[in-house]
């Protein structure tokens, strides 16, 4: 178990006032909230910040932690709580809010929260907690549909009362035409119920893995298509990749770079299905031989052309 420097995590000095700590927490919480943030490690950071705040906002926990920290521990160091480290401090129960679960480091110091919940009154039962996870799928999976095996890390409490993560694999059906941001609900795959209550559900939020060719916007698919200057100028019929395979597409004569052509119904399936948009990118052949250079010079002579006329230069 590693020592955690809660001040470092919150980006505040150990002398910070309770108000400063609160402000720092509010700001970091907004920044790293998993529903708001695009940072890849947002969830991890958000939990860490929540845990740090849990300790620093509570004067008693903070004082005990400060005492420990003055003992010379540094972030990342292997840590075991000194015996009776908390002697003389009082952690009045019920101070736990916010984050769902805390690290082993936290629990070694302040104990586990949530124990005793429902233990007192008889006949208590509750539906298990819903779980949420994000899964990355390929655009091809969304186009064809299919089954994907996903591995989820499930936190569990073992016989000794420690939180351990167990890996659970699930075969998930990817519905044809699913789009980014949609949720798949798996009934009964959430946390176990208590006192005979039913288990919660598992919600999987789908996002697409980046694809080297295609980009998705809703059900529409975008593809950059390199074309030669003569294909763009004279028009051509060329083969274009789509998620469903190659199709022939007509490039109208006189096309410019950036022109967007639509292949109706070639996007992700659905009712209505999405379209595929093909964005033309004109690529010029390299002038890497005397013959090619001569040809470019001849073009300049035969077709004088100022593409910057509108810029007034």
């Amino acid at each position: 178990m590693k020592f955690k420097d809660y001040y470092e995590i919150m980006g505040v000095s150990p002398e910070a006032t309770q108000d400063e700590i609160k402000r720092a927490y509010r700001k970091l919480a907004r920044k790293y909230h998993p529903d708001v943030s695009r940072e890849p490690d947002a969830e991890e950071r958000f939990k860490e910040i929540g845990e740090a705040y849990e300790v620093l906002k509570d004067p008693e926990k903070r004082a005990a932690y400060d005492e420990l920290r003055r003992g010379g521990w540094h972030a990342g160091e292997e840590f075991t709580p000194p015996p009776d480290w908390d002697a003389g401090f009082e952690f009045s129960g019920g101070g736990f809010t916010g984050a769902e679960e805390f690290s082993d480091f936290f629990e070694s110091l302040f104990g586990r929260r949530g124990f005793g919940f429902g233990g007192a009154g008889g006949g208590f039962h509750a539906r298990g907690q819903d779980r949420h996870a994000r899964i990355l799928i390929d655009l091809e999976d969304a186009y064809h549909g299919g089954t994907r095996t996903i591995a989820l890390k499930v936190p569990e409490v073992d016989a000794q009362g420690h939180v351990v993560t167990r890996e659970e694999t699930l075969n998930v059906r990817i519905p044809r035409g699913i789009t980014a941001g949609r949720q798949i609900r798996l009934k009964g795959k959430g946390g176990p119920g208590m006192g005979g209550g039913p288990p919660g559900d598992l919600y999987l939020e789908v996002d697409f893995r980046p694809n080297p060719l295609f980009r998705a916007e809703g059900r529409d698919i975008y593809l950059d298509l390199p074309v030669t200057p003569w294909e763009a100028a004279l028009g051509a019929t060329i083969a274009v990749p789509t998620l469903g395979g190659k199709v022939e597409m007509k490039i109208p004569p006189g096309s410019q770079s950036g022109r967007r052509l639509r292949l109706k119904g070639r996007g992700l399936p659905g009712s209505p299905p999405g379209d595929q948009y093909v964005v033309l990118r004109i690529e010029t052949p390299p002038a890497d031989s005397e013959a090619a250079r001569e040809f470019y010079r001849k073009m300049a002579e035969t077709m004088p052309f100022n593409p910057r006329a509108k810029l007034g230069v």
Binding site: R26, A29, R30, H33, P34, D35, V36, F46, G98, R127, D130, H132, T147, T169, L170, N171, V172, R173, P175, I178, T179, A180, G181, R182, Q183, I184, R185, L186, K187, G188, K189, G200, D201, Y203, E205, R215, A216, E217, G218, D220, Y222, D224, Y277, V279
Partner: protein
């Protein structure tokens, strides 16, 4: 492939939930959903609560609104505004991506 028969449901516009189903899905009381409808955060089809039908993505809207309220101390109008802005941001980001901007 014994897991194949998972009870699985795609929560897209093709799915419609009643008030009771939405409440169960999000583990909230009807009052919470009523307040969200009042705030314009949810827009069910139908006039009276008994006839309300919520589209599948409403589940996610409720869940995110609850998390924003709980974690960031927002009130309901604040959560509704944040949700709308987040959704708009997401659309713009995808569009930017689709145009090859990033």
């Amino acid at each position: 492939m014994t897991e194949r028969e998972l009870l699985q449901e795609l929560l897209d516009e093709g799915v419609e939930l009643t008030l009771a189903e939405l409440c169960r899905a999000c583990s909230v009381h009807a009052e919470t959903v009523l307040a969200m409808v009042e705030e314009g955060l949810l827009e069910p089809r139908g006039t009276a609560p008994a006839e309300w039908r919520f589209p599948g993505p409403a589940v996610r809207r409720v869940q995110v609104a609850l998390r924003l309220q709980r974690d960031l101390g927002l009130n309901l109008p604040g959560a509704a505004l944040a949700l709308d802005l987040l959704e708009e941001l997401e659309i713009l980001r995808r569009r930017l991506q689709a145009l090859g901007g990033e």
